[in-house]
Symmetry: C4
């Protein structure tokens, strides 16, 4: 592998690990379930994916596995998750997609169990103003290539899809974009959840939603949101870092 | 007691203490109420049970008592909880059960006050797809052997039971299995709670639920979930560990 | 003052400060509003009360004021809260009451804005099974002796009362009892709040509620609950204690 | 600039930074979105405003920019937010206003998506008893002077305004007053949200609301609430301060 690709791969792993820990600590952790992947920079039919066993909130660069699009693990210590088809079949159909997120956050998962269509209730809602598709062929895990293909078909050229009584899949051109989208999808559904308690909400209409989305979710602005999520992660990880610092520095000196 | 049994007993106490602290810090703490027990490895008509006085989140191995199935405390410093019959009568009727959990978590306890039947709304919901029984003879504490027997009868061969206006009882072949089930029961009801705010949920139908449950909740996968809960406990316990580390290491050195 | 009374007073202040910090960190903090008092052990027409300015979660023994039942401050550095009449008029009518709590916790305050009657939805609900009175003459603060008297009249011989669109008043024979009651009142209303999202709840009927309450809320059991709350406070206060420990021990040594 | 104005400006920046971090950690953080400003003490057509890029919870004095009312940045390292017109057009029409807050907190933003009129459900509700205006000309960002003017017109002489499917704007004579109002607006809507789950709430009627508001929200009392928020911020910021203290003091000494 050329040196620059190797470097780029290491950087992608750092970013993917951050995305895992950000989503994991922002309501997407579901024990050791849920997974993120990124398309390899060196080979378009290979992905780097969270390995099995750990929570999203625990992931570091050594916890990834490399999987090719023939479903073979070609690198990595950990076992692969069973829902590989979600990732591989989407990558195959969507050359624009370089990151796939599949998680079970509370509000979006509950919403996936209603069959309702998400409409834009607040600022981030406009990002998903064009109705997101809904996969209801099964509520079971997506463990066969055939189911993965069906899911990828239903996703079409959209940013995300609801999996009936199961959770969400969110995609992006980059890890940063996919992670910010997944974060915002859960957040807008939480706002909808609160609004519904007051009564039937108002919505941003289609034309305005498109205009508003264009204003808020440009590339640089999405990147600034990602940077904000990275910095907020530091706050949530502080207690464990303090504990480790103390155990390493103070304890052994006695 | 043979040495291996003694060792096994110590390990079970370590595991039971972890299960108490995991559930206690995952929404099952209700002041000093609620209790877990494990059947003794040395004697099938004896159990090791959380003693009275402490919260689940505070339990360590020295806080257990040994109770035989004649309701006699045979070891341990603490007093016994009054709801011994829940544990003893279930162990008597269910030789497959080696761990009993009785707690009052927010969502499951609220659900127990509706008389509704739980249906599978998300992934972990399928674990409880066969409708869980509902004990409504009393809403009072289960403090007589006769009530314990009635509860055990109603539980039948199920994984868990709702106690009307009171809480839940969850059982398992092992501590790990029972604790993971109790965690997931509360979690699926929380998801149902959110889904209901949006409108009437969709469900996973029976045949698919069985198939999905078989896929997600195998022995090794349940164990991996348990391991995830053990690691997450470390995060929640970090502040107190930091405080103790500092009080022990820094303060006295002056 | 005899030495034993002085000692008793210091102990009461320690306990009252704990009760303030427990309730403050358990959902009863409302900025610097809300207050607790205890009847003086030396003089039955004098009370020791949280002074004005601090949050409940910040109270230590030096933050109390002594107020006699002629509404005169006779000791203490801080100003008195304006709602003295709540405390004084209740103490005058209820010789059995030695502690008064007035707070605005989220769930109980929201419930006070419905005019509904609280019914026992879970274990702690039975403590309030005899319908709690509801003060609706004003929603304003209780700042005159006349309003305080009216409130005390409406309270009658009950444990607590809802103040329409305002909050709650809870009383007890001891600080421990009043604090545990205030904690449990908020908790049972939170459970009711969740239950209502599922549908119309079931209730524990009157006779059983009385029996169940007698079983769970004996003096020693209430005291064990108080002790649990005291220990849990340590967990919530850990971050600030760590910070102070580090600032005092490490920083100045450089 | 005269020395006293310079000093006053530095103090205002300190206070504005605290207001940003208080609101950011009290539910008003929305990634790097939302902004606060204060009118300059030296020049009534100039404002000091949070710069772009950081979360409210991260703001310190070096993160502000100076913007004049011709929309020109005249000082500061960071870029300006795009929604300058909210601030500038309100300052132009409201000489009494010296601080403008625009944020997207969960409950108030959800409420802004209902078109409902806020009525006083609890103590702090009376502060907003005179119905708050509702800006529904667009749900898009307020990025032109013309939209800013329309918003300022709709605000009139009120304390705050709902922006349809977007969020809130809150104003005050001082930073402290505006921040306390913004905090209390979100809090009262959260209480309303809970109350609605129980059924239709009761309200404080107009005359009593005015009297109650006059009692609770005097200048000194609002200032005491501000001081409480400042002290509570210390608690929430403790983990990061501990981490920095340890990294600076312990680590380098090895």
């Amino acid at each position: 592998m050329p040196e620059t690709n190797q470097l780029k791969k290491e950087q992608l792993k750092e970013t993917l690990a951050l995305a895992c820990r950000i989503l994991g600590t922002e309501g997407h952790d579901d024990l050791n379930l849920g997974h993120l992947s990124v398309r390899s920079p060196e080979q378009s039919d290979l992905m780097i994916m969270k390995g099995r066993g750990l929570c999203l909130s625990e992931i570091h660069t050594e916890d990834f596995v490399d999987i090719d699009f023939n479903y073979q693990k070609v690198a990595g210590q950990r076992d692969a998750h069973g829902e590989l088809p979600i990732h591989i079949e989407i990558y195959k159909k969507r050359p624009d997609v370089n990151c796939v997120v599949h998680t079970h956050p509370l509000y979006a998962t509950a919403f996936s169990a209603t069959g309702q269509t998400l409409k834009p209730v607040n600022n981030e809602g406009v990002l998903f103003a064009k109705p997101l598709p809904y996969f209801d062929r099964v509520t079971d895990l997506i463990v066969t290539p055939e189911l993965g293909e069906a899911l990828a078909d239903k996703l079409g050229d959209e940013k995300a899809i609801f999996l009936k009584n199961h959770g969400i899949v969110v995609v992006g051109e980059s890890i940063e974009q996919a992670a910010v989208r997944a974060y915002l999808l859960e957040k807008t559904i939480k706002t909808l959840y609160v609004a519904k308690a007051f009564g039937e909400p108002t919505w941003t209409e289609d034309a305005e939603a498109q205009q508003k989305a264009g204003r808020i979710f440009t590339g640089p602005k999405t990147n600034a949101m990602w940077q904000a999520l990275v910095r907020q992660l530091e706050y949530r990880e502080a207690p464990l870092r303090i504990l480790k610092l103390l155990e390493n520095r103070i304890a052994p000196s006695e």
